[in-house]
């Protein structure tokens, strides 16, 4: 049997689908250029620069007397942030008696050897200290929970 109408309808619908798809990509493609993920190399550089600036602030705090009350500095016990082991946190800290974060340990050091006041966990100083510590331990193997 011959079904010319059906064939004609199919080719018509193919054209329609083709047009719709083109319009879809035209609209969303344009929109994504304006509003979508705008990653490129220059942005990566910008974000890294922001991170390194925070590291530099952390380095200053780590080597200065301003965190504590007795002029003692973090770097006196931890040159280049050694023996901080950020890659092992969170971990069970025997002396605190629970699984603890690096920020809790930083505050312990500020309160005890440094005789200072603890920082809020979202304090930019705390974030800067954490950034410096993490940066100095770059390339260390991640070993969560290891004491």
């Amino acid at each position: 049997m011959d079904h010319p109408h059906i064939f004609r309808d199919r080719s018509k619908s193919k054209i329609l689908v083709g047009i719709s798809v083109s319009i879809f990509f035209l609209i969303f493609g344009t929109v994504s250029l304006v509003f979508g993920d705008d990653w490129d190399k220059s942005n990566e550089d910008k974000w890294n620069a922001a991170f390194m600036e925070t590291v530099a602030q952390g380095e200053k705090l780590f080597h200065g007397p301003q965190l504590g009350g007795n002029t003692v500095q973090c770097a006196m016990c931890h040159p280049n942030a050694t023996n901080t082991h950020p890659e092992t946190y969170p971990k069970f800290q025997k002396q605190i008696g629970k699984v603890s974060t690096l920020r809790e340990m930083i505050n312990w050091c500020i309160q005890n050897p440094l005789q200072g006041k603890p920082l809020a966990y979202d304090d930019p100083k705390m974030i800067a200290l954490e950034a410096y510590i993490m940066y100095e331990r770059r390339n260390s193997v991640l070993s969560p929970g290891k004491h």
């Binding site: 007795n70 002029t71 003692v72 770097a75 040159p79 023996n83 002396q95 312990w108 050897p113 390339n139």
Partner: protein, 361 residues
């Protein structure tokens, strides 16, 4: 207090002292080991206290924790029986070379019941380039003989003039030198003047005489970024090469560390203030930590005195025996082993003999 009467405080102090003295394992003093030394000398011991880093805060306030470390060392040395012939102070009495800190340190050290031989550290030196130290405390380099052993004290923390002139004020210079991980740091050295002096001092010393060199920085090269380093170490080593029995004791590194380079045995001291990590825990630059060293335990930050301590050295007829007294950990005895040809830890040298915390981080 009236004469002949004991106050309650004094009574407690004295009986406490007796009790503590009975705990210190002094029988070890009599242990003799075989030796390569040709010289003969009387047996004696000397104690070693190093790196208290007393830190001035304001007025009459000092960092309590560092004061208590030095006081504890002084009290324990005073309890030694038999009493050591003298104490070697290994340097870094002050944190920033201030007169307040040096005066305070001398006041605390005046409680020692034996004479003190002083070695200067970089923290004592870089504020006024050693002036106050020389006026009030000690010469920067000197030598003495004791019971057949020749002792030489070197000021090993000098550095290049170009670096010294780089800083605007003495305070700035001191602060830069006080930062261990300073990328602007400058390596230590003994320097030409002292090398000339050393050669002359050793001219009339026979090669069989046991020779002990006391310095603040290690007279070999370990890790430059933290200044565990003496730039002209090889020159010093070559001057010492004709002696049969040479031992170098040094401070600065705040940890148990020993090494053998040709004819010279090296032993480091812990600090009474705080311990430092071993440089190999920071992998960004190559380090030359002696392979033979068994690391001391990583300290527990929740115990203030962990990883700190003092030492005494037993000089018998043959060789030195280094007794590391770690307050919150088991003592370590490291001594020269003739068959191995280098210092060996009497208990932990073999990997299978080490207890778990010797390797945990």
């Amino acid at each position: 207090m009236e004469e002949g009467k004991l106050s309650r405080k004094d009574f407690l102090r004295r009986t406490g002292g007796l009790l503590a003295a009975s705990i210190v394992p002094m029988s070890l003093v009599e242990i003799a080991c075989g030796g390569r030394g040709k010289g003969t000398h009387e047996k004696f011991t000397f104690a070693f206290i190093s790196d208290p880093h007393l830190t001035h805060i304001k007025g009459t306030n000092f960092v309590r924790n560092f004061d208590s470390g030095l006081n504890k060392a002084i009290e324990t040395v005073n309890l030694m029986f038999p009493r050591p012939d003298f104490v070697v102070f290994g340097g870094d009495l002050a944190q920033l070379g201030k007169r307040e800190e040096l005066d305070h340190g001398m006041e605390l050290l005046s409680k020692l019941k034996v004479p003190v031989k002083y070695v200067i550290g970089e923290h004592d030196y870089y504020l006024d380039l050693g002036n106050y130290w020389q006026d009030k405390i000690s010469k920067l380099n000197y030598s003495f003989d004791h019971k057949g052993v020749h002792f030489v004290v070197l000021n090993s923390i000098l550095t290049y003039d170009t670096w010294i002139k780089r800083w605007k004020t003495p305070e700035e210079r001191m602060n830069e030198m006080a930062r261990l991980d300073n990328p602007n740091g400058s390596p230590f050295m003994v320097g030409d003047d002292q090398i000339t002096w050393l050669k002359k001092d050793l001219e009339n010393v026979k090669s069989g005489t046991p020779l002990v060199v006391l310095s603040h920085s290690p007279l070999y090269k370990i890790y430059k970024p933290w200044n565990f380093w003496t730039d002209d170490a090889e020159t010093i080593q070559s001057i010492l090469s004709r002696f049969d029995n040479v031992t170098v004791f040094h401070g600065h590194v705040h940890q148990v560390l020993y090494n053998q380079i040709k004819n010279i045995s090296f032993y480091a001291l812990m600090s009474t203030a705080w311990p430092w990590p071993y440089p190999e825990s920071y992998t960004q630059s190559p380090n030359y930590i002696p392979k033979m060293t068994v690391f001391m335990n990583r300290q527990d930050p929740f115990h203030e005195r962990d990883g700190t301590g003092w030492a005494f050295v037993n000089m018998d007829n043959a060789r030195e025996e280094m007794h590391y007294k770690l307050w919150e950990n088991k003592d370590r005895i490291v001594k020269y082993d003739d068959s191995a040809g280098h210092p060996v830890d009497s208990e932990y040298q073999k990997p299978e003999s080490r207890i778990l915390p010797q390797t945990h981080y």
